[in-house]
Every structure is written in structure tokens, then in C-alpha cells.
């Protein structure tokens, strides 16, 4: 069975700082990869997704992620964060052979100080 690890549980940074959130998964087969965001009081929204092709994917709100297959990683980045990026971020994996069931990491709570 697949599993997902997000190493940082809490991240605090100032506006304009760069953000990188780590995500590692354990599954030997083909996967689809996702980053979801949950803003305070709102539902889960998709930030970006990787199905195939260019391993560097760009999402909404200036976020991007890089799939490194050899490291089983899919780290999320943003060059310059804003106060409005305060949210909880979840990495999720879908093993191709498992239908489209998503396995989520534990989440990283990001606080951006103005």
C-alpha cells in the first residue's frame, strides 16, 4: 500500500520569503501526484497535479512542484509568499493500479506573518 510523508508539520515565515514543502511517497509503481490547499474555513482545493510529462508542474497562485522519480518526491515551492498563503497544505498520491483513491500526507500548516 502507498503512503505519503510530509516532513514539516508547521512552517512559519515572513511575507516575501521563499517556501518549500517536502513530500515523499512510498510506492514502486506509476503514480499521479497532487498538492491540495485548505485555507482557514474553506474546503480542500487543488493547487497543482502531475500525471505525466514535464516533471516541473506549475499550479495556481504562483505555486510549482517538481516530481523527482528517483527520490520518490514531489516538493512544493513558491518563490515569494504572501500573507494570503496562510493555510494547510496536503500532498496526495494516487497509485494508477488503485483506481483514483487518494492517499494523503499528514499536512503542513503554513503561517505567513505580514
Amino acid at each position: 500500500a502507498q503512503s505519503v510523508s510530509q516532513h514539516n508539520h508547521h512552517v512559519i515565515l515572513s511575507e516575501a520569503a521563499s517556501l518549500e514543502l517536502g513530500c515523499n511517497y512510498s510506492y514502486g509503481g506509476t503514480v499521479n501526484l497532487f498538492w491540495y490547499v485548505q485555507y482557514p474555513g474553506q474546503h480542500l482545493q487543488l493547487l497543482l497535479k502531475y500525471f505525466s510529462g514535464d516533471p516541473l508542474v506549475k499550479g495556481i497562485k504562483g505555486f510549482e512542484a517538481e516530481f523527482i522519480k528517483s527520490k520518490f518526491s514531489f516538493n512544493l515551492r513558491k518563490p515569494s509568499v504572501q500573507w494570503s498563503d496562510t493555510a494547510e497544505y496536503f500532498c496526495a498520491v494516487n497509485a494508477i493500479t488503485a483506481g483514483n483513491k487518494l492517499t494523503f500526507g499528514g499536512g503542513t500548516r503554513v503561517l505567513v506573518k505580514p
Partner: protein
């Protein structure tokens, strides 16, 4: 275009009771998945319904059951509630592309917050 809707928003039950949660998928979607999100954790997959049948199931006991109706809406039922069932229950919808259930984004609803006392 309405997104995924869930009802009720909040629910308080006592141990041993039964609860039913409801979900209407996004327009055009035919597949519904349910997830449990305990406080401070990521969502965990409960099960998925397509064509009114349970197609996949996560590691949850038989106390958790579901149903999908011909209009693609779905219910999640939990019997004999335990304190540990307190969580946010999320519904997500997606659609089949040419017989495949992969490579499809899942759209999430706002969730139902269940508190078991």
C-alpha cells in the same frame, strides 16, 4: 455550476448512535469518494462509489457503509458511533473518462463536522 455539496454542516451525536451524511457531486461527475479527516491529520480514504456500487474501500470497519443513488448523490452511514469517529467527513467527486477512473482530479466538498460525545 454548483460544486460538491454536503449536508449537514455540523452534527453532534452520542456514542452508540447512528448517523447519515449526504453528498451531491459536482455537475457532470458520476463517482463519489468519502474521506475521514481527524483533527490535525490528512484525509483518509473510506470508500468510493460508481454506478451505485462500492468500487474501492479503505481500512475502515463495516460500521461504515454507503450508498449511491441513480442521480449520483451519495450517503455515508456510520453505525454504533465511537468517540474516535469524531472528525470532518469529506466527499469528493470525479468522473470516468473512457472507462478509466485514473488521471481524474477529485473535487472536494466543504465537509460535515461530526462530533461524538
Amino acid at each position: 455550476d454548483a460544486g460538491v455539496t454536503q449536508s449537514p454542516t455540523h452534527l453532534i451525536k452520542t456514542r452508540g448512535q447512528q448517523v447519515t451524511l449526504r453528498c451531491s457531486p459536482k455537475s457532470g461527475h458520476d463517482t463519489v469518494s468519502w474521506y475521514q479527516q481527524a483533527l490535525g491529520q490528512g484525509p483518509q480514504f473510506i470508500f468510493q462509489y460508481y454506478e451505485e456500487e462500492e468500487r474501492q474501500r479503505g481500512n475502515f470497519p463495516d460500521r461504515f457503509s454507503g450508498h449511491q443513488f441513480p442521480n449520483y448523490s451519495s450517503e455515508l452511514n456510520v453505525n454504533a458511533l465511537l468517540l474516535g469517529d469524531s472528525a470532518l467527513y469529506l466527499c469528493a467527486s470525479s468522473f470516468i473518462i473512457t472507462g478509466q477512473r485514473v488521471n481524474n482530479e477529485q473535487f472536494f466538498g466543504p465537509g460535515t463536522r461530526l462530533t461524538v460525545l
